[in-house]
Symmetry: C3
Subunit: 312 residues, 3 copies
Amino acid sequence: MRRLATIVAALAGMGAVACATAPAASAELRQFWVAATPAPTWNMAPNERDAIHNMPLSPSQTVFPTVVYRRYTKDWGHPIPNQPTGSSNQDLIPGPLLRARAGDRIYVHFKNLDTLYKRPHSMHFHGVHYKPSSDGAYVPGISGRDGNVKPGQTWTYKLTAGSDSVGVWPYHDHSPSMEDSIAGGMYGMLSILGKGQPRPDREFEVVFAPMGDFQTIDGRAFVGNTPVFTSVVGQTIQWDVMAMGSEHHTFHVHGHRWKSPFGTDVDTQTVGPAETFAIRWKEEDPGTWLYHCHVEAHMMAGMIGIYHVRPK
Amino acid sequence: MRRLATIVAALAGMGAVACATAPAASAELRQFWVAATPAPTWNMAPNERDAIHNMPLSPSQTVFPTVVYRRYTKDWGHPIPNQPTGSSNQDLIPGPLLRARAGDRIYVHFKNLDTLYKRPHSMHFHGVHYKPSSDGAYVPGISGRDGNVKPGQTWTYKLTAGSDSVGVWPYHDHSPSMEDSIAGGMYGMLSILGKGQPRPDREFEVVFAPMGDFQTIDGRAFVGNTPVFTSVVGQTIQWDVMAMGSEHHTFHVHGHRWKSPFGTDVDTQTVGPAETFAIRWKEEDPGTWLYHCHVEAHMMAGMIGIYHVRPK
Amino acid sequence: MRRLATIVAALAGMGAVACATAPAASAELRQFWVAATPAPTWNMAPNERDAIHNMPLSPSQTVFPTVVYRRYTKDWGHPIPNQPTGSSNQDLIPGPLLRARAGDRIYVHFKNLDTLYKRPHSMHFHGVHYKPSSDGAYVPGISGRDGNVKPGQTWTYKLTAGSDSVGVWPYHDHSPSMEDSIAGGMYGMLSILGKGQPRPDREFEVVFAPMGDFQTIDGRAFVGNTPVFTSVVGQTIQWDVMAMGSEHHTFHVHGHRWKSPFGTDVDTQTVGPAETFAIRWKEEDPGTWLYHCHVEAHMMAGMIGIYHVRPK
């Protein structure tokens, strides 16, 4: 009880916001309903502008009919936002942010509603404990239905968050269609807190991935289309950074530094395909800042966005 | 004596297997005889199958006549397996696994038996101490015979493992032919233990490198050709991971996590050309798992294999 | 006073050389005058030789008319060497090595003297604290003159080195011309010491970046053109390593090892675009050694140099 009180006090003191699921004092079962659903008019650049080269873009270049992960209410009743209320990015890419705490069991109920391409799909999770039947990867002659969920079918992935699962982790399609599906945005993140770890005030998801001829953040390209993340001086903010695809990236935020995983101060950090890291700091620097991939060709192809910090 | 007893007891307690060289209680001289020898029918995919795209492959696509490092008995008497008895990969690529302990001196006697291409060759070692005459790299106008061993010639590389040499390290051709030779598989690893460090029960070598149009692990492409690594629940296993060539990779094992070099939990880790890392865990998860490079284009071009864990 | 005496004694004991600015006992204001100036005959390979493939190179392949950062005396009176007296590389690429200590304020007075291409330029600094008006990055509709300094104009960037700024950091053009300007060598480094941290005896700057068809170190390609770094046994040496452009590299030095940022021993370390690291060791190994990028295609395209250690 004393421990619970401490945690609650800590959370209150940080002004935590936007918890879709209440922080758990003890291990619990968290259930999510997710479907593969068509996004036939996904537009990487709705403002029709390449703000780096100051050039127009037409929808014929930037609309990418695709299939995405989408969060649903219980038993796939109706779709709900992929990210929790108050999140900075309510879009369909990346897929639902699946939050849990060390010790929790997690059931992800998956349904393949791909009526656009009628492909098989699956979910393969990093960072958590599971049996081979929840692996979600297709291997000819070895794997079962978990790695090859056909249109109309369902599968429940049963996962456990260990003490070695704290942090952020990828999930993604690992079925026979994975090449096309990942290229189309079928990826998302698990965000797992330690038992007494306070939730940040703001949590920003940044997924670096190519899409067609562009280099995108969360499926969007160029300032004006990529997510605008916002915070207020004094808040604790967390960046959940991940890459998918075939290229290495370097995540950079202007005017800020953070502790790298190994304890040194950095402001640019490599992230390769399926690598992830969570960065936290207490915000002190008001202004409009850039965040971007520092691989120059990627930034020039759209991998750049705005982070806005309001004074207190 | 007390210290020796402790080490032996520790090793016995771990059920250590497959030590080609006995664990040393004190520093010793370890000698190896290695030759560059032809492998004129090396086949990257002996099963003639691309198991990712479920397509046939013909030997005309996958046979790659090459020259490799091969281990010999004393004074190059006769060839012996590159990897110690009981190893999971008895193939010719990578070259011999050279094991030592901190404090040891290591003599590697090298002979160029390249009758296939008649190229010069050499061995350049990472991680160990040596004088310039054992560097093995060719620099016009500077280097001696160590970096340019002609067909029929020999050279002895004299190395010392310091306390800063613990871990796994690359060796590779650094002669005038290095571009072709590394592309053909002329690389291998040193595996150096700390003075009292127990040897793992199982040691798996994973070298990510391109070969022709494919992306290979230990010179093989696609599940069914790449090494199948095996262990039993309860064993301590070690992955020796390395990359050679011009690309960065991300090493991933399904259903497992490990401590990164900086102490965080990961299941995907970047490895660039000539970088290496050794990962250890005590096995707890029975099943048939995938290990692969998570750079998607590499996995699709063959960089994927099977890891099988039997119940106790 | 006792603390100051300790620092001075430590520096004296290390035989520190080549301090352009005296070590500070307390925080100070450091001012630098830098200009963007033409280098119309920059030659990546003045010796007209590809020493890797042993082939001739002609100036038509290797001369690259460009614009660089150049250090000046106060109020841009006259140009002075980019690197401090005694440095191993007195060339114009990279730009001036800007040295400071944690706690210092730093003013960089920048003037655009680009009469060659008449492009806008800027300076964007990593690792230090500043307000948005000193960010130096151009964002359409948001940024001011700091990110878009036109020919003939000036701007003063006002920076502060915090305790989280210790290490080496990039600066580079982030104006509308950044693609061309970075490709032409408009980058350099900040080198910031902790408050009581002794300066190394030798400090070597290694910037990996493509230029035209070559892969360069400090704007030069191949042994004979890239910097020759020198030291004497017993000296403390520091490598300042950075990458610019769109590719990841692996920095390797023959015959030496160092502690990676996470405390393990390595001799090859990944550095991605805008990542930096400072490596220190006390020199013990006399000889002529290679340092190079271990990405094979990069080394073959010129990214390799000589490090010479004289006996004591």
